[in-house]
Amino acid sequence: MAGPKYPSLDTLALHAGQSPDPATGSRAVPIYQTTSYVFRDTEHAASLFNMERAGHVYSRISNPTVAVLEERMAALEGGVGAIATASGQAALHLAIATLMGAGSHIVASASLYGGSHNLLGYTLRRFGIETTFVKPGNLSEWKGAIRPNTRLLFGETLGNPGLDVLDIPSISAIAHEARLPLLVDATFTTPVLMKPFALGADLLYHSATKFLGGHGVAIAGVLVDSGRFDWEASGKFEVLTAPYAGFHGMDFEEESGTRAFLLRARREGLRDFGACMAPMTAFHILQGIETLHLRIPRHVENTRKVVAFLEKNAFVEKVIYPELPSHPDHALAKKLLPNGCGAVFSFEIKGGRPAGKRFIESLRIFSHLANVGDAKSLVIHPATTTHYRMSDEDLKKAGITAGTVRLSIGLEDAQDLIDDLDRALKVSAK
């Protein structure tokens, strides 16, 4: 049955969250570079503080420029709302700190960004939150790892660095059967390639530093809530369903239903942990999002050409990209990521660590640095950088070897990139 139409993703990427500025008519999103907002009178001030009126009080809690980014990301992902954070790591921390405290437990994919692995495996453990890491493709491991004190299942839409495709429909079904939410890191896929909420995820976040911003100029994160998880029915989240003395006895679920998680995350998490986003950063990320729907297809197109080149190259042992039939998640990728598997992938160079070193140092267009998702092409050697602190056993679990090289394919001419790789691979074999 046909209904009325929603604006498409392309239109939302440019418009969602912002009307022309009512004060000036500015078409571009103004940068509200202010810490605070003048109250109309004392009654107005009291109403804002007590959440009787909508508006801004202090930019750690909300800011008009940041709010445009938040609403735009919620619109692009199909969520009820979002909270922009100082980084992707801050978004992950905010999600976890909102849902649980000491004595809680998380089940997470073992194929994670090294920073997330550090947070879950080491830092949060110090605060009494334990994590069990499971092979992302092993559904019985996910199910078996759930304990009575588990409060969250977590994985990356495309695991780092082996690009394990997270089976969101199956893992969310396991989570929901246990009355738990599934959080996904959607950084590598962006809403252009995958809509995790439509597949069953309940919460998601991005390191907006990467493809959303796209230009490598700002560190940023954004946490989005689908609003679909019923915290009350779950019975496992007193943080959201019982009066909270830290906010005048507020029962967040009773207060706001679908918005309970974001309400507590903003009113407690941003208030107390304070990992908020600066307005200038929001502006930078918004500039990137305006062209996200144009950039991502080009990233994917270039990646496919580079992958095809590397696959046939004599100095390459193996290319790990889910669009290749050799990838263990190829069938799942075809189902969940029909428009492409992103622009970050790994390959193994022949000759191990010394060959890898020569290769990276011979590249001219690719930049050797610790980031992905830039408009410019990037390269890194995970075993000595992003995953440096992981034990050999954990490295192996995450599918990394000494010869693994990770590429992030940018928007340059694909043939120029291939020529650069070709030259460096030849040097690597000398």
């Binding site: 209904g3 009325p4 929603y6 969602a16 909508a54 919620a74 709302g81």
Partner: protein
């Protein structure tokens, strides 16, 4: 706060306050498929400004037990029964859309219980298009789409939400997805079938306030005219930039109108 009416669990948001018999009471009644939280800001204000607040979840909505009620008259009697159960003799009743019809009918059928009535988006007759009704009857997702898209002004998906960081479309859809099958249809059909509007309006003696959104495509201001004509002392506040979901689209304007009316 949970109550019991006719053996069924009923939830009403009270702004974290116990009911105080010494205080005047404001009741909020939501529209089809929605729940108490749509009145979140406004109900919280009155709860912290000297009034008992009962932002209701009608049967089958939000946290209240089903089944859903099937006529505006039934809903009005249900609110009346709830007030009697809670020993609240009289209340200001604020309704939204379907809830506005409930407020009107309550004031007509139980005039002793209605101190004032406020309508946020109302029209009479409140006819619902056949495709919308049919989609809701079939529990087809397109009914949620219609409710969401027609339920807000056209600029809402592109414009800024007054509530920082929230996306109104997503919030409405998430709320509708939580409904049991048939609940949205029951509400829409009750609006569509309601025929007593003019007779009921003629019976109402208490003060009335119309809060209307000029960009409302479901109940545009002109659809309220026949009712407004029945209330010689009725006040009207038209909000220029709002569609049907006034409390979310223009929360401060709605609150200011209610403060002016109630205080």
């Amino acid at each position: 706060m949970n109550f019991e009416v006719a053996g069924k669990r009923v939830f009403a948001y009270t702004a974290a306050h116990e009911l105080d018999p010494a205080k005047p009471t404001v009741v909020f009644v939501h529209g089809a498929g929605l729940d108490h939280s749509l009145f979140g800001l406004q109900s919280r204000y009155f709860g912290y400004h000297g009034r008992n607040v009962l932002a209701l979840d009608l049967p089958g909505h939000g946290r209240s037990e089903g089944p859903a009620l099937h006529s505006i008259e039934e809903m009005a009697d249900w609110v009346s029964r709830l007030l009697k159960t809670l020993k609240i003799p009289k209340a200001t009743v604020v309704g939204h859309s379907m809830g506005s019809l409930v407020a009107l009918e309550l004031a007509a059928r139980h005039p002793e219980q209605a101190e004032r009535i406020a309508f946020c988006a109302i029209g009479f007759p409140m006819k619902v298009s056949e495709p919308f009704l049919e989609a809701a009857r079939a529990n087809d997702y397109s009914a949620f789409d219609m409710s969401t898209i027609w339920g807000h002004a056209a600029q809402v998906p592109l414009g800024g939400n007054p509530n920082p960081g929230m996306w109104m479309y997503g919030d409405t859809l998430a709320r509708l997805e939580r409904l049991a099958p048939g609940v949205l249809h029951a509400g829409l059909k009750a609006c569509n079938d309601y025929a007593a509007g003019l007779e009921s309006a003629a019976k109402v003696k208490c003060p009335a306030l119309f809060i209307l959104g000029r960009r409302d495509v479901m109940t545009p201001p002109r659809a309220a005219q026949v009712l407004r004509d029945k209330f010689s002392n009725g006040r009207t506040v038209e909000i220029a930039v709002s569609g049907h979901t006034l409390m979310a689209e223009a929360p401060d304007d709605v609150l200011d109108a209610l403060i002016g009316f109630i205080s």
